[in-house]
């Protein structure tokens, strides 16, 4: 099996996990650590993982004691990390950080799962008091098939939603960019302002909102980790 293909994710944690970890377990933990608690939400964060296997992994984690399963109203179920599970945060971050620092990840950007990218971004959108409620951002991705090019991000009442069908939204900010460039900027591999200056990322809307875009858009949690110079990476 060639490198960097198993998970189909640009996430450095996924890259590191490919040779270090039990298949999918780390990525499931990442989803849980980053706040997903419902089965389908977790599943969207690991789209190439079969639901059968996800189910089985969740059971393993419960068995070990890092996860609990709480049944809510109706058939709603919440998976929540125990204290021991939450304490795995630094372990997961150290592995992701190692990947960000040492691995050649850019090649993986050649085949991006845009649904996953948007799902990742959605998770990190930071609601800010200056923004309207709801706050709606339209993404137009220039380098993907038409059916996957449009995405609307709706941030309302501290809850972020994602949609890929046009419901005639009242869009506050419009962003046009290639999925490739968006990934690089979001991963911290390239600079947001530079991408705008080079017209590789076009952002339109009230200047009140666009000026602080880098703040509400957020970045991957490993974006801040310095990378080794290209020649040192593996």
């Amino acid at each position: 099996m060639s490198k960097h293909v198993q998970y189909g994710q640009y996430c450095p944690l996924a890259m590191s996990s490919e040779f270090l970890c039990t298949r999918w377990t780390m990525l499931v933990l990442r989803e849980l650590l980053f706040g997903s608690s419902q089965f389908n939400d977790i599943s969207r964060g690991v789209p190439r993982m079969s639901r059968t296997l996800l189910s089985s992994r969740l059971k393993e984690l419960i068995e070990v004691g890092v996860l609990t399963r709480e049944e809510g109203a109706g058939s709603l179920v919440h998976y929540r990390l125990t204290n021991a599970g939450k304490a795995l945060g630094p372990v997961v971050m150290s592995m992701a950080g190692w990947g960000q620092e040492w691995l050649k990840i850019e090649p993986s950007v050649e085949d991006i799962d845009v649904g996953l990218l948007m799902w990742d971004i959605r998770r990190n959108i930071k609601p800010m008091p200056q923004l309207p409620n709801p706050f709606i951002v339209e993404f137009f991705l220039t380098d993907v098939p038409e059916s996957k090019s449009q995405h609307w991000l709706i941030s309302e009442d501290d809850k972020n939603d994602l949609c890929h069908i046009d419901h005639g939204f009242d869009v506050d900010v419009y962003i046009k960019v290639s999925a490739k460039k968006l990934t690089k900027v979001w991963m911290g591999w390239e600079d947001f302002a530079t991408a705008i200056k080079d017209r590789e990322l076009i952002i339109k809307g009230d200047e009140k909102y666009t000026r602080i875009a880098v703040k509400w858009l957020g970045q991957s949690s490993v974006a801040g980790i310095k990378k080794q110079p290209e020649e040192n990476r593996i």
Copy 2:
């Protein structure tokens, strides 16, 4: 598969790896990080791993780029971590640390591989200027079959050797203890001085040497990590 059986090791890294990691990979990295470079030395640190699989894992690590294979004189081969590989140290330690802090590990002490325990201790023996050269310690383990009860640790010229056959050594220090207690003390779960005071660990020899035993004997590298109170562990 039940918990804590796969690797047959009391090491918290092994426990954590059982549900997080690709089989054996972390433990192989541990051996490399702690200084083993030859195939057979690595193999002794993971005695339940088949040599076939070890060979295959080493190749994977080389393929990924965290390890190199250098052929030396004769048929001597050295495996050495690359810089990227060495940088995995904190990842490995964070995982081991999590295990030490959060896992109920003591049950695993019920079935100790004494060869592995002694091999671990050998690796960490700290040569000290006050000690004679060679410095020879005899261990007598009270709770294991007679054939496995005697071990001699020879520290000479900054190189530590292990022997389980009596060659009529000129023993400097003699230690009599159960393998169980020795493990607990060495892992930092129980106190060395207390074990001596309670006569659970008997140490004989020149007081110059026995007085500072805790220093040259060393401890597991995770011994310093605080454990959660028993009721929080999983």
